[in-house]
Structure formats: structure tokens, C-alpha cells
């Protein structure tokens, strides 16, 4: 699923950009095209995230990126109330989820849980990715958000 325009959070937070050293560039290229790309070692075939220059298991530096199906499980979450950034002053509560991919060596990524910020959140629930595109921002970027299945 993909969405354009308004984001889950108010505009004005720092915009994500690929690391200058290129380490996570394929991730950002992927999400811009509605694909979730995480690191997989070409030598041992195992997944890892966050990105590293070598495989932490076999130490090969032949680490590539491969697509993960945009479905995960809520590993943990939090409902944030106190704004720590000026852009969030009028936001009200929002939900951050830590989403795990059990079939991909338990790799995890962070996103927001779409929908009512007061909703009950259940650890272990299946969630589906929503690619939140911000094409008019400078630089343009895409966030990966989540909806309960």
C-alpha cells in the first residue's frame, strides 16, 4: 500500500536521507519504490538490520539487500505524549511501533501505527506496511508506516 501527501506526523521533523557513506542507500531507493529492502548476506544468506558493512555472523563483506514482504509483527510499541521537537507541539499523542520480521532473522524496523492514536495496541499483532511518500519535500523521502492487518 502507498500514500502520497499528508503524513502521519505533522510536517517539520528532520527528513531522512541516505547515509553519505552509502551504507543504507538501497533501503531508501527501495522504499521510494514501495519495496522494503533489508540487508542479506550473499555469503551465508542470513538477514541483518540495521545496516552493517560486513555480516555479523560470517564476516563476509559481500552483504547485499533483498526484498522483505511488507508484513511484520508488532514487537513493541509506545504512545508518545510529550513533544520533544517543535514540529510536534500540536501533534497530540502518536504511536511508534517496533516491527519484527520473524521469517527474516528477527530483523526489526521502526515506524508509526496508522489509525486512532488512542487505539489499543497488541504486541504480536500482524501489521502491513504503508509506504508514505513525500515527493514534494526537499529532499523527497518515503517513510514506512504500518496498519494492523
Amino acid at each position: 500500500m502507498s500514500s502520497n501527501g499528508d503524513g502521519y506526523l505533522n510536517p517539520g521533523l528532520p527528513k531522512p536521507a541516505p547515509a553519505p557513506d552509502g551504507l543504507d542507500a538501497p533501503f531508501w531507493e527501495g522504499v521510494a519504490n514501495d519495496k522494503l529492502m533489508l540487508q542479506r548476506c550473499n555469503a551465508c544468506g542470513r538477514w541483518q538490520w540495521g545496516p552493517e558493512w560486513i555480516c555479523h555472523r560470517c564476516h563476509s563483506d559481500d552483504v547485499g539487500f533483498a526484498e522483505v514482504p511488507p508484513v511484520g509483527r508488532i514487537y513493541s510499541f509506545e504512545r508518545v505524549w510529550h513533544p520533544v521537537h517543535p514540529a510536534l507541539e500540536d501533534q497530540g499523542p502518536y504511536i511508534v511501533v517496533l516491527v519484527e520480521f520473524p521469517e527474516h532473522d528477527q530483523a526489526r524496523i521502526v515506524g508509526n501505527l496508522l489509525g486512532d492514536p488512542h487505539q489499543d495496541v497488541v504486541i504480536g499483532d500482524e501489521v502491513h506496511a504503508v509506504f508514505e511518500h513525500h515527493p514534494d519535500e526537499e529532499p523527497a523521502f518515503t517513510l514506512v508506516q504500518w496498519k494492523v492487518a
Partner: protein, 392 residues
């Protein structure tokens, strides 16, 4: 020969500036550092010119060479920084100082931390910039950017796995505030906390209410490490270091919240090493100072240092168990980071020394073993154990 810090060094003196609400220190940060060093030297009864080393943590800005110049130190032998942010390095800096003294690299090392957040930035704010890259690009745009937000995620998971209730977090906050009422140095002395006030306080980020979160303060703290054979040359009851460790478990530092063992205070590998070095167990600990960045970190630290099982938190973590003088595990007897002062936890090490000396404002009776846990949930973390002469 057994390689260990046990009994090799002692704490000759401790010193603090007055503690201020953040941004309200009347002095520059570097002057605060100097004043704490001078206070510690006065407490020990030594000339500051006898100091020959400095150890700190969390990228403290008060450079040892400048401190040595300002103090007129003749022979600087040791200048050390424990890597890692937050307060995880408090006992680690002490361990480093102890290692230097135990091995003869230095004779009189000051462990210190100084903070003036009016002069410099605050901890509890997110970055204000247009673009972010690197690890932060994967969290900050989702509104996950402050220490409270980073650690709430771990604590939520731990509470989920072990059925921990909010009352366990509340008890830790109540204990700190209870102790602060007897401590005139405490920023929150005169501002008691009740269950109702805690429950009615606003959420910062679930599961942390306002009173689950540490203060942010200005001030400085210092302690002086000397060889154990000199411990009786000073004015106070000798305080010996029985053990001090730092570190973290497998891939604790994996970015974007990917540590495989995630819901932890980071002490699962450190705590056994600490007890091995100190040759004591959790049942021997008379009083605990446990770094409250957030109460959830205290809770997991108490579990991982073996004071209760993960599934016993709701029963064990009640106020009566945590307060001096008679609780099962008197904890944060100065008021700690929640209610005395947030000096990145070094105030906790000083309070642990006071308990050995019998000088705490919430003194536990007959303290022989006094323990400090520094900076849970970051990496690396650290912890240490002090003992009286009887424990050597």
C-alpha cells in the same frame, strides 16, 4: 596471580557542587568541575596538586589537561574517557581509574562529571535540523528521538513479557522522592510525591509518567581513587572498591532497535562478572544506588543483578521494600537521579560511599556492601560494589 580490582583501591574523598535546576548554575561548567575536584580533595584532606589523573564518561567537556593546568598539577599521568553516552560510564570511569591506580599507572585519580545545560544543550530534546542520515534516519522521522522514547520501547516489551504493572515503576519513583525529603542537597527536597500525584501526572511516553523520568541538572561531582594501602591515611571510614565492571551483551549496540536480546537493562553479562570480582552475591548487598534515567531501567537492572526474578517485580517492587532504613533493598537513598540530582549518575557513586561511611541522610544500619548500577539500557553500561574494611 588473580587479576582483579578487588580490594586494590579505595575512595579517599568525594565532592560535589551545589545541585541546580538545569540552566540555573551560576558558574561555568568548567568551574563547576574544578569546584567538585577541590571539594573532593578537601574531603580527603589532600592538596589538589597531588592529583595525577582524571577519568570521566559521556564525552565530558572538561578536558583533563586544562583541569591539570588550572589546578597546578605537577605530573599528569592518566587522562581517560569511558566511551558511550548517557550515564552508562559512571562506574566504568571508576573502574578505569581503579585499573590505573591498581597497576601503578597513577596514584591519585579523580573520577568526575560536570554538567551545565544552560551553557550547553539539553538531553531530553530531539534534533532540530532539516535532514537526518545514518541510524537516526530510521527513527527520528517517526518521532522516536529522545532518550525517554528510545527506552520506553524496551521497557514496554519487558513489561509485556513478564506481566509487570505500572505500580512497580511507581514504587521506584516513590522511594527516590521519599529519600529526597531527608536530603537537603536534593533538588526535590520539600516536594514529596504521593501515589495519587504520580498517577495524576502526565504521560511523557507510555509507560513513563513525568515522575518516571530523571531530572536534568547543572552541577559537578568528583571522587578520588587511591591505592588501598593508603585508605587509612584519610579522614573518613575507609571505602574499598570490591568490584567494578562495564560492557554489554551480544549485539547490544545493533542499530534501529535490533539488539537480539532487546528488553534488557544491558546488565545480563556484566552483573555476573561484577559479583565474581567482588566475591559477593545479591543477598550480601546492604544498599543499592541504581541509576534512574527512567524507572523501567531501574526495574530491569534490579532483576538482572539478581535481586528478584522477572516475574516477581510486582511483589518485590513496592515502596516498603525500597526505603531506608529497613526495606529489603533500600534503593536510591539520596533521592537519586529522580529527586536528588541528575549528575549523570556520579552522585549515586558518592551516595554509595556515604553509606559505607555512615554519613547518608537516609542511612542504612551496618552497611558493609554498597552497590551502584550506572546507566541502564545504554551500551556500554557499568556497575560497581564498595565495601568496608571488614569485607576485604
Amino acid at each position: 596471580m588473580e587479576r582483579s580490582l578487588r580490594g586494590t583501591v579505595a575512595i579517599a574523598g568525594v565532592g560535589e557542587t551545589a545541585y541546580y535546576k538545569r540552566g540555573q548554575a551560576p558558574d561555568a561548567e568548567f568551574k563547576l568541575a574544578l569546584m567538585a575536584v577541590l571539594a573532593a580533595c578537601e574531603d580527603a584532606g589532600i592538596s589538589p596538586k597531588q592529583v595525577d589523573g582524571f577519568a570521566s564518561f559521556s564525552n565530558d567537556r572538561s578536558d583533563p589537561s586544562r583541569l591539570a593546568a588550572a589546578l597546578g598539577i605537577h605530573d599528569l599521568r592518566f587522562a581517560n574517557m569511558q566511551w558511550g553516552g548517557g550515564g552508562g560510564g559512571g562506574s566504568g570511569a571508576l573502574a578505569n581509574a581503579a585499573a590505573a591506580v591498581a597497576t601503578g599507572m597513577a596514584e591519585c585519580v579523580v573520577v568526575f562529571r560536570a554538567l551545565a545545560q544552560g551553557q550547553f544543550g539539553r538531553f531530553g530534546q530531539g534534533p532540530v535540523r532539516n535532514v537526518i542520515s545514518g541510524d537516526g534516519a530510521h527513527t527520528v522521522p517517526y518521532g522516536l528521538m529522545s532518550p525517554a522514547q528510545s527506552f520506553a520501547m524496551k521497557v514496554k516489551r519487558f513489561m509485556h513479557e513478564h506481566g509487570v504493572e505500572q505500580s512497580a515503576l511507581r514504587a521506584l519513583s516513590l522511594a527516590s522522592y521519599h529519600h529526597a525529603q531527608n536530603n537537603p542537597r536534593a533538588v526535590m527536597c520539600g516536594r514529596p510525591l504521593t501515589e495519587e500525584k504520580y498517577d495524576d501526572s502526565r504521560w511523557i511516553v507510555e509507560p513513563f509518567h513525568l515522575f518516571d523520568c530523571c531530572l536534568e541538572n547543572d552541577g559537578a561531582a568528583a571522587m578520588i581513587v587511591v591505592p588501598a594501602e593508603r585508605a587509612k591515611d584519610f579522614m573518613h571510614t575507609p571505602t574499598y572498591l570490591l568490584g567494578a565492571v562495564s560492557g554489554s551483551h551480544y549485539r547490544a549496540g545493533a542499530s534501529v532497535h535490533n539488539a537480539p536480546d532487546y528488553a534488557t537493562s544491558t546488565f545480563k553479562t556484566c552483573a555476573p562478572r561484577l559479583y565474581d570480582m567482588a566475591k559477593v552475591g545479591p543477598g550480601d548487598v546492604n544498599v543499592l544506588q541504581c541509576y534512574e534515567n527512567f524507572t523501567g531501567g531501574v526495574l530491569m537492572s534490579i532483576v538482572e543483578h539478581g535481586f528478584c526474578e522477572p516475574d516477581e517485580c510486582n511483589e518485590f517492587l513496592v515502596k516498603e521494600n525500597l526505603i531506608a532504613p529497613d526495606g529489603r533493598l533500600p534503593t536510591n537513598t539520596s533521592g537519586g537521579n529522580l529527586a536528588e540530582c541528575y549528575m549523570h549518575g556520579l552522585g549515586l557513586n558518592i551516595e554509595a560511599v556515604r553509606q559505607i561511611r555512615g554519613e547518608s541522610s537516609n542511612q542504612v544500619q551496618d552497611v558493609d556492601i554498597s552497590m551502584v548500577v550506572s546507566g541502564p539500557m545504554v551500551t556500554p553500561v557499568s556497575s560497581c560494589i564498595f565495601g568496608t574494611e571488614a569485607t576485604l
